[in-house]
Amino acid sequence: MRRSRIVIALIVVVIAIVLQTTVFGAGRIQPLGVAPALVVLVLIGLAPYVEPEYHVLLGFTAGILVDLVGSGTLGLWAMSFTIVAFLAGRLRARYADSIVWSLVAAFTLTLVAQVVYVVVSTLFGQETLGEPNVVAKIVMPAVWNLVLAYPVFWILRYAYAPRDRSWAS
């Protein structure tokens, strides 16, 4: 595994967090009141380019960073993103070469990330499940990720394999 691939992946995650907290932050671009979950989307999109074990570590790191930037209990998004990275690693062979599978993965795994967070945070004493609009907060990021999946995955494919001519090129 080339080190540059992991470094690129980390840089992509950091960029995603910065964009998520600024461009897609509160009061900015939030169609229908909820922004896309960009960090989860790039995590799913990075799965074909990073070895599964590194990808799981990347998921955990991304989750911890999101926890540290956010207001919730530390470790909850880390667990959620680790699960998503693990599942994405399992599915990566399927959606690496299929646009339909990649879109399905973007939607489903984003949904998984949100649901896992809501359940785990509720178990840890937060009132997440009882929040108003909790369904919209779970579903809408998955819908927006479905919309953004093609361009984001294209950018990632270009970053890792600019000469690759597959579905995204």
């Binding site: 950091v14 907290t21 600024t22 960090v39 599964p52 955990f60 930037v69 956010g70 785990v120 004493g125």
Partner: protein, 299 residues
């Protein structure tokens, strides 16, 4: 090939299980720990890395985001509507503030020897970033301890209370919105003059609980801070639905926040009113789990 593949799967599964266990331990430690020193240090350290990037991206993309927002606003019609709505909110806030001040004056006049102090000094700050998920209720502002900001101070906008200062660095600070379940504020219902506690629910209306209420609270009644930790008379919002007071029961209802928290760009930090327990705030006021909301409560 097969054994290699099998080993890889096993390695990934073991790593996955270990990381989940580590995440679980971190969360347990964060919830159970009495002080948040380690968590705060980590949060401040992370934010110090992200702050320059966030400010840069915010500066670069602000015009684009504004343009996109403008297009989305139906070529000016919605802009005009927003402007007028903002003006109406401003005027309503002025009326509410005037009512609150009149009420305070009456009360102060009843207490001999007390005079109203000078107007509280504030620092205007711009919000440059927010939390990264829809479940986060934090905003980052571009003013910090160099500007007199300390943890626990109240943050307001033209409509009312927005939240309180949570973490502070030299030039930046994090504010926790009043909708955060970890934030509780001691309040007074203006129409009945009875006190209670308002707590965030993550989103939408706030929860109002009054333990010694003897009168009903009516829909639309103004709710303001009681002055126990934040300056008195800051507008929180208005009662969303009428609730009757019953002997032996806690009066529970909801309060619609006056501030439009999803659209706040600029805020004011009240630096002229120090939290009565600023020391406590720095230790316990930055807690994140709701289990510690009582410790951070105002009432």
């Amino acid at each position: 090939m097969l054994p290699q593949s099998g080993r890889r799967v096993n390695r990934v599964t073991i790593l996955f299980t270990s990381l989940i266990a580590i995440g679980f331990l971190i969360a347990t430690f964060d919830v159970r720990s009495e002080s948040d020193d380690v968590g705060d240090v980590l949060r401040e350290g992370t934010q110090s890395v992200f702050t320059p990037l966030q400010k840069g991206v915010d500066w670069v993309t602000a015009p684009v985001v504004g343009f996109v927002d403008g297009v989305a606003n139906l070529a000016g019609l919605r802009d005009e509507n927003d402007r007028l709505e903002a003006r109406v909110r401003e005027l309503e806030a002025e009326v509410r503030a005037t009512d609150a001040l009149e009420e305070q004056v009456v009360q102060l006049e009843l207490i001999n020897g007390l005079t109203i102090g000078e107007e509280l000094s504030t620092v205007t700050a711009r919000i440059y970033a927010s939390g990264s998920t829809p479940f986060d209720n934090v905003r980052y502002i571009d003013k910090g301890s160099n500007d007199g900001v300390i943890a626990g101070q109240a943050v307001i906008d033209e409509d009312g209370l927005v939240g309180r200062v949570d973490l502070v660095s030299a030039n930046d600070a994090r504010i926790r919105l009043i909708t955060d379940p970890a934030v509780s504020v001691g309040v007074r219902v203006q129409s009945t003059n009875e006190t209670g506690i308002v707590t965030g629910r993550g989103d939408g209306p706030l929860r109002l609980e009054m333990y010694r209420a003897s009168q009903p609270v009516r829909e639309g009644a103004l709710v303001v801070t009681d002055g126990s930790r934040y300056p008195p008379g800051l507008v929180i919002g208005s009662v969303a639905r009428t609730a009757e007071a019953e002997v032996g029961f806690v009066l529970r209802t909801q309060v619609e926040p006056a501030a439009n928290l999803s659209q706040v760009d600029y805020v004011k930090v009240i630096v002229g009113f120090s939290p009565i327990d600023a020391g406590l705030e720095s230790d316990a006021g930055t807690t994140t789990p709701t289990t510690r909301s009582a410790a951070t409560g105002d009432g």
